[in-house]
Each structure stands twice: as structure tokens, then as C-alpha cells.
Amino acid sequence: MTRVVIVDDHQMFRAGVRVELGDRVEVIGDAADVESAIELIRRTSPDVVLLDVHMPGGGGKAVLETVASTHPEVKFLALSVSDAAEDVISVIRAGARGYVTKTISGDELADAIRRVADGDAVFSPRLAGFVLDAFAGAADIPVVDPELDQLTNREREVLRLIARGYTYKELARRLDISVKTVETHVSAVLRKLQLSSRHELTRWATDRRLI
């Protein structure tokens, strides 16, 4: 069974997620701040870490960056109520395999954890929207590496369907492709998001700087 660690600074939320997940996964521990999370993950090396984007002491990004160097096999799924696009994107760029909002149902969350454990990417509608936004306006900006700096039409189509609320299965049926192919497209988008040095991404983040 998938071994999961929950990292979130709200005790109530950690308890809630444990109950919601039930016995679909094995929750082996939880942590409330960056330091104890790093210690816990290094000690137990779980399959998947459910990671809050916003936490005191640097947030989920700090955990990711520290752990990724020593435990590259641990997978991270970001979980947040935050809708600040640049926070979400920066956690994904730091290495998280997906992003879901905290209003997700227990079934969907268990499904997302399984997907991440299998090495796939998990895109919620909101993340798909952020990514489309980040890669928008490709025509008029210089592209450094076309492999990484642009989405293909098919990838855009897949992201749009996710943003419209289609599950991977519904999406596969709609486009007449297999779920595996959908996962391939989504993983490719995730890779581009993480590796692209696209100047647009930084400009995009500053454009939307908060408050």
C-alpha cells in the first residue's frame, strides 16, 4: 500500500485528511512545520508526501528543495487552499508532481496519490488554468528552447479539457485516446513547466505579484 506523509500546519486539516483517506493508503506520519517535515521524510522515506503550499518557515517549497537532494525517490503532491498562481507554480517548479485544492473529495485525493506514486502528474482544473496562463502569448515572445518553452496544440487541448472539469478518463474518451496517453501528455507539460527557463514564466509571475 502507498505510504503517505501529511505535511500541513493545521492540525485539524491533517486529522481531516487522515479520516477522508481512510484505509485506502497508509498514513505513516504527519508534520506541522518545515523542520519536522524534513526530519520525518528523511527518517521514513514515504512514497508520497502531501505537502501544504503555505507553511511557516519557507512553505512547502523549502521542504521540497531540501529533501529532493537527498531523497529524489520521494514524490510530492501539493495541496493548498491558496490560489496565488505564483506560489503554486513555484512549488511545481521545485519538483512537486501535481497540485490539488483542499476541497477535493477523499476518493479523488486517494486517486491522485496513487497516480503520483506511479510517477504520473496530477493536474487539477485550477493548475491547468495557471499553466495555460503561464504559456499564453507564445507568438510574440522569443522562445529559447522550443522543446521546453512551448506547449504543443495537443497539450493545450488536454489542459483545456482538464480546466473544463474533465477527469483523465472522460478526457481520454472525448479525445479518443487512452488514459495512458493522457498521462503522457500531462507529464510532458509538467516537465516543461519544471525545466523551461522561459522568460515568460518569470515575467508572468511578476505580473501577478500579490497585493
Partner: protein, 389 residues
């Protein structure tokens, strides 16, 4: 006869030539500014009291408030110039000043004029929060000061008193430098304290804004939730609407010229309305944004109608809305995974979809596509091409 209330006595505003005293007086008294100006000139010629009066008004009257931040009226420049040249030449003719003094005095007057007006303008810019061009500000001050110094030196030189003045100047300079050295730390401290105090004031202002906002929204909602704890549906509705409000407050893209209704925010608002009125949670994702125009507004209304339809007929616990806008077109998808229906055999009670969604989009030059089948959920796609200005 009822007359309009008299405008307040202020200087400046439209039609100001020198400092706006005459035009301000004229506006207040309701007479032609030319008459006021003539009166000042006559009073000046007859004993000089016009000049004194003008100066006194300039000093005392508050500035006119509604004024364009930057104004460059060549007429005003000419008026100033004519006044200075005329005045000096007149003084020369009358023998008040020797002819040798005329040009130095002109140069000094020009320099003073530039520096004073700059001070006037920059304080105004501060009051109205306008952005001042720092470089041109300092260039003008430096230019004005240079003119001033040149005038003074010219004045002394024309009197052959430069030599005598130099010794006096050196002594004065030494005293001034000593004073400056003595007072500099104190002055620096004062400046630091002032800016620290200003920062602190801004910070506490922000804090109290935040506290006020949290009190009005979050705390009120929490209180309501406690009282409604026995009704899960109501609690969920309250929590969702509060989440939406707080998110909008935290992450809304703010424009400098105040809130502006945009396409994305209108879609979000429509979804929030449906959520409140019909109890159907709607998840909205938007990509891109633009100002709202008539066609987009019609599209948002059609999208709202589609959401209401989902709330009424689909028998689902949530709907998804995706809105995307780019340079060429805007699209909105409203999707539910509910019972669905056969679009070819629309029952009479679902005419709403045909009229208020499909019909409305057609009337505004857009299109609407309905994809649905019994048991398959419903997706409505709205689309308009954008009119680029």
C-alpha cells in the same frame, strides 16, 4: 432669482496666468478676470499697492483643488516674462534702479521664478499623490539656482563691488559651513525620524484595514456558522461564499485607477451569484483577462443562465466553468456531470436554454453549442470573436 453658490476664494485653476490670484478672485466675484487684472495694474501704477496686494493674496489664498497635475501653458510663461521685463525696465526708466542693474535683476527674477514655481508644483504633486519627474525637478531647481547666482554676481560686478563682496562672502561661507557641520547630524536624525514615522503610520493603517476587513467578513461568517451548525448545507454555503470573498480580496488584480470590471471577474461574480442563489457550488478557472464590453457582458449573462440550468436540472453537487480569453476570441465552458438530456427533444420547460443562452449569444454575434445526452452530463460552449479597437 436663485444664484449658484459662489465658488470658494482660491487661486489657480483654469485661466491662471501668473499665480492664479486674479483668475481666482474673478471666479469668486463672478467678474471678468481681465477687469481684476486691470485693477491690479492700475493700483500698482498708482502707488504700488497693487503689487503688495497681489503678493499678499498669493501668500494667503489656498490653491484651487481640481487641477490637472501638470500644465504647461505658454501664455502663462509669456505673462510672467512680460511682467518681469516690464517691471524691471519701468524701474530703470524711473531711475529707481540704474540701467546697469536691469539685466542682473532680470536674471535673478527668472531664477527665483523657476525655483519658486517648482516648489509650488512639487508640493501640489505631493498633495494630490501625482508622480513627479524627479530628474526634471532637480534640473529645474539647479537651473534656477544657477541663474540666481549668475544674476547676483552680475549685479555685484556691474557695481565694481565684486572684490569687496568676496571677502564678505568668504566670511559668510565659513560661518554657514560651520553651522551646517554642527546641525547636520541633528537634521539627518530628524529626516530619519520623519520617514520612520511615516512608514510606521502606513503600516498601522494597513493593519487596521486588514483587521476591519477580517472583522466584517471572516469573523461574521464564523459567527454565522456557529449559529447554523445544525444545518450542514447552510454551513457549506456560508463557508464557500466566504472563501470566494476572501480569495477575491487577497488575489484580485488591482489596477492603479481603481477596480475595473473585467471579463474574468464578471464570470467569477456570476458563478458566486449562482452558488448563493441556487446552492450549486461552481468551480471557476479563468485564463487571460480583458475589460468587459457589451458582447462579453452578454456572454457572461448567458454563462450565468447555463449555470442556473445546471443547478435546476442536472442533479449534481457541483459544476465546472472554464473561461478563456485571448486576442482573437473569448470562450466559456459550463459543464456538469449530471443527468443530461437530448438537445434534439428539448422539453417545453427547458426553453430557457434556447432563449437566454443560444438566442442571446446569436443576437450578440456569438455562438453557443450544447453537448448533452441523457446520463452523460451537459456541456455548454459559448464563444464570441473579440472586436479589437
Amino acid at each position: 432669482m436663485r444664484s449658484l453658490p459662489r465658488p470658494p476664494l482660491e487661486r489657480g485653476g483654469d485661466g491662471a496666468l501668473v499665480a492664479g490670484v486674479a483668475s481666482g478672485l474673478a471666479r469668486h466675484l463672478g467678474v471678468d478676470p481681465l477687469k481684476v487684472r486691470l485693477a491690479f495694474v492700475l493700483l500698482t501704477i498708482a502707488g504700488g499697492s497693487g503689487l503688495v496686494l497681489y503678493g499678499a493674496f498669493w501668500f494667503v489664498l489656498p490653491r484651487h483643488r481640481q487641477e490637472s497635475a501638470v500644465r504647461s501653458d505658454p501664455l502663462q510663461l509669456w505673462a510672467m516674462g512680460a511682467l518681469v521685463v516690464g517691471g524691471t525696465l519701468l524701474a530703470g526708466e524711473l531711475g529707481v534702479l540704474g540701467l546697469g542693474f536691469v539685466w542682473p535683476v532680470l536674471v535673478v527674477a527668472a531664477g527665483l521664478g523657476i525655483v519658486w514655481r517648482q516648489a509650488d508644483e512639487s508640493s501640489r504633486a505631493r498633495w494630490f499623490g501625482a508622480v513627479t519627474d524627479q530628474r526634471s525637478h532637480w534640473m529645474r531647481i539647479a537651473g534656477g539656482t544657477a541663474l540666481l547666482l549668475a544674476g547676483v554676481v552680475g549685479f555685484l560686478a556691474s557695481n565694481h563691488e565684486l572684490q569687496a563682496a568676496r571677502e564678505g562672502l568668504v566670511a559668510t561661507g565659513v560661518v554657514v559651513a560651520g553651522l551646517a557641520l554642527m546641525l547636520a547630524p541633528w537634521w539627518w536624525q530628524l529626516v530619519q525620524d520623519l520617514s520612520a514615522e511615516r512608514r510606521e503610520r502606513i503600516r498601522s493603517q494597513e493593519r487596521s484595514d486588514l483587521a476591519a476587513h477580517l472583522h466584517d467578513s471572516v469573523l461574521q461568517t464564523l459567527a454565522l456558522i456557529q449559529r447554523r451548525a445544525d444545518s450542514p448545507g447552510e454551513v457549506q454555503r456560508l463557508a464557500r461564499s466566504q472563501e470566494r470573498a476572501l480569495r477575491a480580496w487577497l488575489y484580485a488584480r488591482r489596477d492603479e485607477d481603481g477596480p475595473r470590471l473585467t471579463f474574468a471577474s464578471a464570470v467569477e461574480a456570476a458563478a458566486a451569484e449562482v452558488e448563493t442563489d441556487h446552492g450549486l457550488p461552481v468551480d471557476v478557472v479563468t485564463v487571460g483577462d480583458c475589460p468587459l464590453d457589451d458582447r462579453l457582458e452578454a456572454m457572461v449573462r448567458a454563462a450565468r443562465e447555463a449555470m442556473v440550468n445546471a443547478a435546476k436540472f442536472a442533479q449534481v453537487d457541483h459544476a465546472d466553468v472554464f473561461a478563456e480569453v485571448d486576442d482573437r476570441s473569448a470562450t466559456v465552458f459550463v459543464r456538469d456531470t449530471g443527468v443530461g438530456f437530448d438537445p434534439g427533444a428539448v422539453p417545453a420547460d427547458r426553453r430557457g436554454l434556447a432563449d437566454s443562452v443560444v438566442g442571446r449569444m446569436a443576437r450578440h454575434g456569438g455562438s453557443a453549442t450544447v453537448r448533452s445526452a441523457p446520463g452523460e452530463g451537459t456541456e455548454i460552449e459559448l464563444r464570441v470573436e473579440r472586436v479589437l479597437t
